[in-house]
């Protein structure tokens, strides 16, 4: 068993876990001194997407809600930031505003689905359909009449030139590539730690209980729909953060943020990494993104061909994902070793 999963999930992390986190944080701080900015850029986008994967993985693995449409909040976050920042000329407040708008929408959509008691697979489909609605609607805004404030929505082409985050103590200059690296790495690490700690709280334990047996939790007196809505909104917020960071990373937003391909990728990252852990989605994102990035420069021909095979192999052979499978293998070896020791 992976420590995060099941029995010990609710326990506060041990000292070794905190030391690993501290080491990783230190490594992140040091990294820009040792690697070129192209690699920092590659890593930053992995961190951004890892947040998106975390939002889906958390919702699926811990709350048992399979949402194919985390891209809704990802895209909304990006677009909200672009529109707010370009309109106001500020970046700090738009950053916050861009988190609030998708969160509000996720509360609305979540209320609609969870309080309507839409069954599991239909919830997945509804989220997918909603993200497709957003994609189609945004795509059809290329005419000059689609303006929010002074910003053209630009349809298919998306909004280029999204301003980078300016921080008051940096003399108002937009964040450099190193700055974006620190921002994305920090955000990912913080969200990961926060989610891990959340699982030890009453809220965290209750949503895991609901995943295991929603009816029992209700019979124990928990308003399960409220908890599920809470988890859904939280995940929406994480996806929104990912979307805002994406806009800051590439300085553009486009309707592709909502599309089927993007939604599919999130699922692939989570599946590859492991759906019942928090660290799995992060690793999955890293591996898949790095692979497609690398495939694009070595020329294997069709990248989708390789990704398709990866997805099939994982579902058929390692349905629990990479990390849990490795964890199992470790556990097996350890038991074997321990077993041999005992018989001696």
């Amino acid at each position: 068993m992976i420590p995060e999963f099941s029995a010990t999930a609710a326990r506060p992390p041990k000292a070794w876990w905190w030391s690993v986190i501290a080491l990783i944080a230190l490594a992140m701080v040091m990294l820009p001194y040792y690697v070129d900015i192209a690699l920092q850029l590659d890593l930053s986008i992995i961190f951004v997407f890892a947040l998106l994967a975390l939002s889906m993985g958390f919702l699926w693995g811990y709350a048992g809600i399979l949402s194919f449409g985390q891209t809704i909040f990802f895209g909304l976050g990006g677009y909200a930031y672009a529109v707010l920042a370009l309109n106001t000329g500020m970046t700090g407040l738009p950053f916050l505003g861009a988190l609030l708008i998708p969160v509000a929408f996720s509360a609305l959509l979540g209320y609609f689905m969870i309080y309507g008691r839409i069954s599991d697979i239909y919830l997945s489909v509804t989220t997918l359909v909603v993200t497709l609605i957003f994609e189609k609607s945004i795509r059809s805004t290329s005419g000059p009449e689609y303006v929010i404030g002074s910003v053209r929505l630009n349809g298919q082409n998306g909004i280029p030139g999204v301003p980078g985050l300016t921080l008051p103590w940096l003399d108002g200059a937009p964040l450099s590539i190193e700055g974006v690296f620190y921002l994305t790495a920090g955000a990912m690490l913080l969200v990961y730690v926060a989610l891990r700690l959340l699982l030890t709280t009453r809220f965290g334990r209750v949503i895991v209980g609901i995943r295991e047996n929603e009816r029992r939790m209700e019979l124990l007196g928990y308003d399960t729909r409220l908890y599920k809505l809470g988890a859904f909104v939280l995940a929406g917020g994480i996806a929104a953060l990912s979307g805002v960071l994406y806009a800051l990373w590439g300085n553009f937003v486009a309707p592709e943020m909502f599309n089927l391909n993007q939604a599919a990728q999130v699922v692939i990252w989570v599946i590859v990494g492991g759906r019942s852990t928090l660290i799995g989605p992060i690793f999955g994102t890293g591996i898949v993104q790095y692979t497609s990035n690398w495939l694009g420069t070595v020329g294997v021909g069709q990248v989708t061909l390789v990704l398709g095979i990866v997805l099939m192999v994982f579902v058929l052979v390692f349905p629990r994902g990479l990390l849990p499978t490795i964890g199992d293998a470790f556990g097996y070896v350890r038991r074997r070793v321990a077993g041999r020791g005992a018989t001696r």
């Binding site: 399979l66 609609f112 689905m113 309507g116 008691r117 839409i118 069954s119 697979i121 239909y122 997945s124 489909v125 509804t126 359909v129 909603v130 497709l132 609605i133 189609k136 609607s137 059809s140 089927l260 599919a264 699922v267 599946i271 021909g301 069709q302 990248v303 989708t304 061909l305 390789v306 990704l307 398709g308 095979i309 990866v310 997805l311 099939m312 192999v313 994982f314 579902v315 058929l316 349905p319």
Partner: protein, 284 residues
């Protein structure tokens, strides 16, 4: 004006039935959501183009497409799907992988460009309007597909066995029915319908690697809204969405048509979480 609207609506409905029946059968009978459905259609389209280019008549190419994709479906069922029965999400993910794989493979083999065939059907005119004669062929085939499926399910032994197995697999296998064979056959039949749909679309859209992508979302929504009864569900959902799309696209524009279909779909999911046929216990 009225005739045109009516024609567009019937055409829209037929297109939807054509592209979603195979998916609906596989979903309704086997509880498998086949996300590679669009790519099955694409394979059918390429089969059709290859046959026509090799000199086969069009109708024979349609049959060849249905047969080839049907066989391919059986292979897929044996190699992938059968390990995943009862795991609805996993089948969805595995077929998603298959879909990406097939798009990549076909692009590598046939190139990214659309392939076309020369098929002259001419046009029919009435009321000062020309209508493509082929669209009437498509409407006929689409209706034919539904009718034939209904006849098989209702009046043949095979249909009876399949319905029985899907209702209660243990009882059926107790009666000496080979369950594997039934699943294989059903999946193959659904795939064959997808292949036929793809082939029938060739004169309209050509065959290209992205063919599946254009239709799979529509088919998917249609099936989910239709619910678990493949025939009634497909007919009901196609009629509803076809009417909306056909009418709205003609009176306003294609964008408004597509978005209104999606919005109606979301509202329906809220009202009927199990689809239109969700509350019906029996039927086809």
């Amino acid at each position: 004006m009225i005739a045109t609207t009516l024609y567009l609506i019937v055409y829209s409905i037929s297109l939807l039935m054509l592209v979603s029946l195979g998916l609906a059968i596989i979903f309704g009978m086997m509880k498998v959501i086949n996300l590679a459905h669009g790519e099955f259609m694409m394979l059918g389209a390429y089969t059709c183009v290859l046959c026509v280019n090799a000199g086969a008549p069009l109708w024979l190419s349609f049959a060849a497409a249905a047969l080839a994709v049907g066989l391919f479906g059986i292979v897929v069922e044996r190699l992938i799907i059968r390990f995943l029965y009862g795991r609805i999400v996993d089948t969805l993910l595995a077929t998603w992988g298959l879909s990406l794989f097939l798009v990549g493979l076909v692009t590598t083999v046939f190139g990214p460009q659309a392939w076309s065939i020369s098929a002259r059907f001419g046009n029919v005119s009435f009321g000062g309007m020309n209508f493509s004669a082929y669209t009437f062929v498509l409407i006929a085939i689409s209706i034919g597909m539904v009718v034939v499926t209904w006849l098989i399910a209702r009046f043949t032994t095979v249909g009876l066995i399949v319905r029985g197995t899907m209702q209660d697999a243990t009882v059926a296998s107790g009666l000496g029915v080979n369950r594997n064979l039934v699943y294989m056959g059903t999946f193959g039949y659904g795939a064959a319908l997808a292949g036929l749909a793809g082939a029938v679309l060739v004169p309209i859209t050509g065959a290209s690697p992205s063919l599946g992508l254009f239709f799979v979302a529509k088919a998917f929504i249609n099936v989910i809204i239709g619910g678990h009864l493949p025939l009634i569900g497909t007919i009901a959902a196609s009629s509803l969405f076809g009417t909306i799309d056909g009418f709205v696209s003609y009176v306003w524009s294609s964008v408004v048509g597509e978005v209104s279909v999606l919005i109606v779909a979301v509202i329906l999911l809220r009202l009927l979480p199990l689809g239109i046929t969700g509350r019906l216990r029996s039927g086809l």
